[in-house]
Every structure is written in C-alpha cells, then in structure tokens.
C-alpha cells in the first residue's frame, strides 16, 4: 500500500481537482480529504456517509462565576490573552493549557472537553472516502488530519488496497505537516505565477525537512509560459521530477459545477494530461518498492 498526498503551499492551484482525477484513475484506493478546515473533495465525489464520528480534542477553560472571588491570578498567568476583565474566558483565544484552572485558589475554573468536529467514512462511486469537518473556529486540525489518515490506512490495509490518495490543505503549518509525514510521495501542484513558485518552494522545503519524496505538476501552465519555463529550470536544478503540465481550461470549472471529476466530464487536454501524469506516477512508485 502506498500513500500519495497532493499539496501546493499556495491555495487554489488545483489540488482537489487533481485528487478527484486520481480518484477516478487509480484502482483499489481509499481517498482522504485532509483539508479539514475547508474540505471540498466531497463536492465532486458525492459521498454516501456510512459512519459518522464526533471528534473531541483539547479542552477550554470555563469560569464558574459563583465561585470566583475576583483575585485575578488567572489573568496574570494566561499568555494567550484569553482571560477577560471579568475573569470569564474568551473561548476563541483559549489554547486549553489549563494554567488558569490549576492556579485558581477557589477552583472556580473548569476545563471542558471540546467537541471540535466530526469525521466520516463514506462510500463513493470510486471507493471509500474518509473525510472530516473541523468545527468552525476550532483548533487541533493537525490531530484531526492524523486521525482521518490513520482510518484510511486501516481501510486500505484491511482491503489490501494499493493506494491511499490524500487531498492536502494549503500552507506549510500544522495540518500540512500532519498530512505529509510518512507518505510515499508528495505531489506538489504549482501554478506558473511568481507567488505559486514562491509558495511551492517553501512547501518543498517542508517536504524535504520531513524526508518525503516530492514530484511536481504544473497546472494552468499556459497562463504564463515564461514562468512555466522558470519552474521547469528550477525543478531540474533541484532534482525534482515534473510529472506533467496541464493547460488552463474552463472545462475544469464546468466539471466542478456539475459535481464530476474532470476525467468523467471531458476527454480533452486536461484529462489526457492527467491520464499521462497518473500513469507516470504509478510507474515511478511501482519502481520504488
């Protein structure tokens, strides 16, 4: 079983569209949506939810006003500016360290477990999908990412599947790190813009930091041919393989509007490029057993 994660650093470069295409092209696979902040993969995979679980993680302080004598020690120790002037807690700022609760001489502050989201195991027309919904304004997205990945891995192992295909989130922080550790290949989607390359370089540094092999797809490459050449040269200099290039095509947006993967929607340029990319990726990963 091999795990592939699709990431980009910069948002909106086409991660989810490409993940959806891989879902349509790969055989024997489990899909995972690790963009638990703003999950979108379900919009093109149309999952039927089979299991729904509550994700509990972390704690938040709560002041029992009737016990509080207003000494204010809680406010002096809190480093997250979460204790308000009336010694109640701003749950958005609270990081759940429990320092206030531990120092309170009246035991007036209780730590309450957060219900931080939900996670699901679903069936789709392409196979199982493990996805999640982090509660709005919640923390610990990294833990939720690790949880859905673990579940997907278990399903893949129990069914003897070949692939776990992971849709990642933008950025380089906690959820991204949780989505790349231990995978067999990180596919970095770059758009030919100065910011696209800037952000990809940072995420590739993260991928290297965690010793994960990386490969590149240049998406919408015809929006700026000079920048595409620059990315190609950069990839060569840094010894990172480019799996392929995909043109900009409004058909991609149309396919999303119809709730389909681009593979199902069109047989033209984008689909052809993605078929070749998948074939190459499969060959490359089969070789590195």
């Amino acid at each position: 079983m091999k795990q592939i994660v699709i990431i980009s650093g910069k948002g909106g470069t086409g991660k989810t569209v490409i993940t959806g295409a891989f879902a349509a092209l790969a055989e024997d696979k489990v899909m995972v949506d690790c963009d638990v902040d703003a999950a979108d993969l379900h919009l093109i995979l149309d999952p039927e939810i089979k299991q729904s679980h509550i994700f509990r993680s972390g704690v938040t302080a709560f002041t029992h006003k009737e016990l509080c004598e207003g000494c204010g020690v809680c406010k002096t120790v809190c480093r997250f500016e979460a204790v308000k002037d009336d010694f109640t807690i701003d749950p958005v700022s609270c990081e759940g360290c429990a320092f206030c609760s531990l120092v309170c001489p009246q035991n007036a502050i209780q730590m309450k477990t957060n219900v931080s989201g939900k996670w699901f195991v679903s069936g789709t027309r392409f196979g199982p999908l493990v996805h999640a919904r982090l509660g709005v304004a919640e923390e610990n997205s990294g833990k939720l990412v690790s949880l859905v990945r673990q579940k997907a891995k278990e399903i893949a192992e129990s069914k003897n599947y070949k692939w776990v295909i992971i849709d990642g989130s933008p950025g380089i922080g906690c959820p991204v790190i949780a989505s790349i550790t231990g995978v067999d290949c990180a596919v970095i989607v770059i758009e030919p813009t100065l910011s696209g390359l800037h952000d990809a370089r940072r995420v590739i540094d993260v991928v290297k930091y965690f010793n994960v092999p990386a490969k590149i797809i240049i998406n919408k490459y015809d929006l700026n041919h000079d920048m595409t050449k620059k990315i190609e040269r950069w990839s060569e200099d840094n010894n990172i393989q480019i799996l392929g290039k995909i043109i900009f095509d409004k058909a991609v947006v149309e396919s999303v509007v119809e709730g389909k993967t681009i593979i199902e929607y069109s047989n033209d340029g984008v689909t052809k490029a993605l078929r070749n990319i998948w074939r190459l990726l499969e060959e490359e990963l089969d070789r590195t057993n």
Binding site: G9, K10, G11, G12, T13, T16, D37, A38, D40, L43, G58, V59, V77, R79, F80, V92, S93, E95, G96, C97, A98, F99, L102, V103, L134, V136, A137, E138, E139, S141, G142, S169, P170, G171, I172, G173, C174, V176, I177, P192, T193, L194, S195, G196, H198, D199, R202, V203, D205, V206, Y209, F210, L223, N224, M227, K250, V253, V256, V257, G259
Partner: protein, 278 residues
C-alpha cells in the same frame, strides 16, 4: 479602521485584493498575516527596514535541580513533557509556551528558553507601511507569528490585513478584533462551500463583513443567490480576465497596469465605510 481580507478557500484572490487596496488608498499600513505563505511582498516590493525573530518560550530543564518528580508532565496539557525513569524529556514542537510547567516545578528546575519559530520583517514602499511574518520551515504553529505581526498595527493608519486561508486558528488569530472583514470567493461549488464556512467564522466573531466575487463570470449563480438569501453585501465583482491573470503571474500589481481598478478599489473602501457607519 482595520480591514482584514480572508476566504475559506485558498487562491481566490485575497492577496490581489489586499495589495490593490493598499496601492489605491493613502495613509495605509499593509500587514501580511498569511505567515505560512506570505505573498504581499512579491507585489508591493517593500524596502525592508527591520528583521526580528519570533520565538516562543519552551522549557529547559536544569538536571542538577530536577528530582524527577513528574509535576511538569502532570500539568502539561499538550503532552510536550514525558518523565521517564526520573528523566525529563521535552518535545518542544508540541509546546505552546504556556509557562505552566515552569510555574509549578517545586524545585525551580525549569527555565524557559526561547525557541525561534519565525521572523517578522517590516519596511515601507512609498507611503505604504509594511510588515509581514514568515513561519520557519518545519514549524507547526503559526498563531504566535501572526500575533507578532499584529503587534505592529498602527491605528493612525488604515490597516489592511491579509489573512491565511481556512477557518481555524490561524485565520481567527489574523482577523479577530478587526473592524471589517472582506471575504473573497469565486462562484464555484468549492468557493461557495468554503465561503459559507468562512461566513460562520466571521459571524461567530461578530465582525461586520461583505463579499468580493472574483472571477465572477466563471462558475454559476449560486454564490449570488447565497449572498442574497443570507443578506450579505456583495462589495465588488471582478470578472475573469487573462490579462489580470497574466499581470498577477508576473508578480505585478493589478492597479498599476489597469489604473481603472484604482477607482474601483477606492469605491470599495467607501462602501465599507458606509456599511460601518450604517
């Protein structure tokens, strides 16, 4: 006034809006709080004046004083401390720097040491005051870096904050306490799904907000319908244009090459002020 620019989905045009607004107004401060992937500097090209590390305090154990009692492990809410055979092991990447272990150690054996997790750079471009943060590679927690950028807020100016994408802690840290949020979206099912999540966040924080629909002619009408249904003002629509995409791809500011957009962004600011004053 502090205006923050956010979106659930990435790549909808936050940075384009933030930098265009900054270049269209006077007496402006631009703060890039997307510290995982800051991009404003690419378009603004500021002359940098300062560069300072951002650190969080993590525990360091003085083995001579430590008797291995395990109190630090008990009070740590993040499993960042393990005491094995009376020896204290610190996992600093899990530490939030709350200071609890240091306070509760009965032997004063813990002293906090600063662990660098990012940098803040400040500078200016003509009239624009600029600051951004960069999270170090391999670090998990961006909120302390975002808070460090926000320390530079200059209330004498119109402050524009470019926020990271998403709906969780980094976004909250960037936009909480600002006066108005611009949510940038695109009219696709992905854009709409993530917009509706971002709207929940902004409503939870109780900040007035409006929507900009970027690439407004790609996709469908559902985003418009959603905004009408939810009574959310649509502040601006920017149709898809290969010209804009091409200017963006070079890292050039849109309002420089298409000056007609300068007026549109001034109009946007006026509209926000009108909404704020009711």
């Amino acid at each position: 006034m502090i205006i923050s620019i956010a979106s659930g989905k990435g790549g909808t045009g936050k940075t384009t809006i933030a930098t265009s607004l900054a270049l269209s107004l006077s007496n402006v401060q631009l703060l890039d709080c997307d510290v995982e992937e800051p991009n404003c500097h690419i378009f603004i090209r500021p002359i940098l004046e300062s560069r300072n590390p951002v650190s969080i305090p993590v525990p360091g154990v003085n083995q001579d004083k430590c008797d291995g009692c395990g109190r630090c492990q008990e009070v740590c809410a993040y499993n960042a401390i393990a005491v094995v055979n009376k020896e204290v092991l610190i996992f600093s990447e899990l530490c939030h720097g709350c200071g609890s272990c240091t306070y509760f150690c009965p032997n004063d054996a813990i002293e906090e040491i600063n662990k660098k997790i990012g940098i803040i750079e400040t500078g200016r471009k003509n009239e624009i005051q600029f600051a951004h943060g960069k999270l170090d590679i391999g670090m998990m927690m961006s909120p302390p870096v975002i808070r460090a950028v926000r320390k530079h807020i200059n209330k004498k100016k119109t402050v524009i904050i470019d926020a990271p994408p998403g709906t969780s802690c980094p976004v909250i840290t960037a936009i909480n306490g600002t006066d108005f949020v611009i949510l940038v979206t695109e009219p696709t099912p992905f854009g709409l799904n993530d917009l509706s999540l971002a709207v929940e966040v902004v409503r939870k924080l109780g900040i007035p907000f409006g929507v900009i629909i970027n690439r407004s002619d790609l996709g469908n009408k559902k985003t418009d319908e959603y905004c009408v249904r939810e009574n959310i003002p649509i502040l601006m629509r920017i149709p898809f244009s290969k010209k804009i995409a091409e200017i963006y791809s070079r890292g050039d500011p849109v309002v420089k090459e298409l000056p007609e957009y300068r007026e549109k962004f001034q109009g946007l600011y006026k509209k926000i002020k009108e909404i704020k004053t009711g």
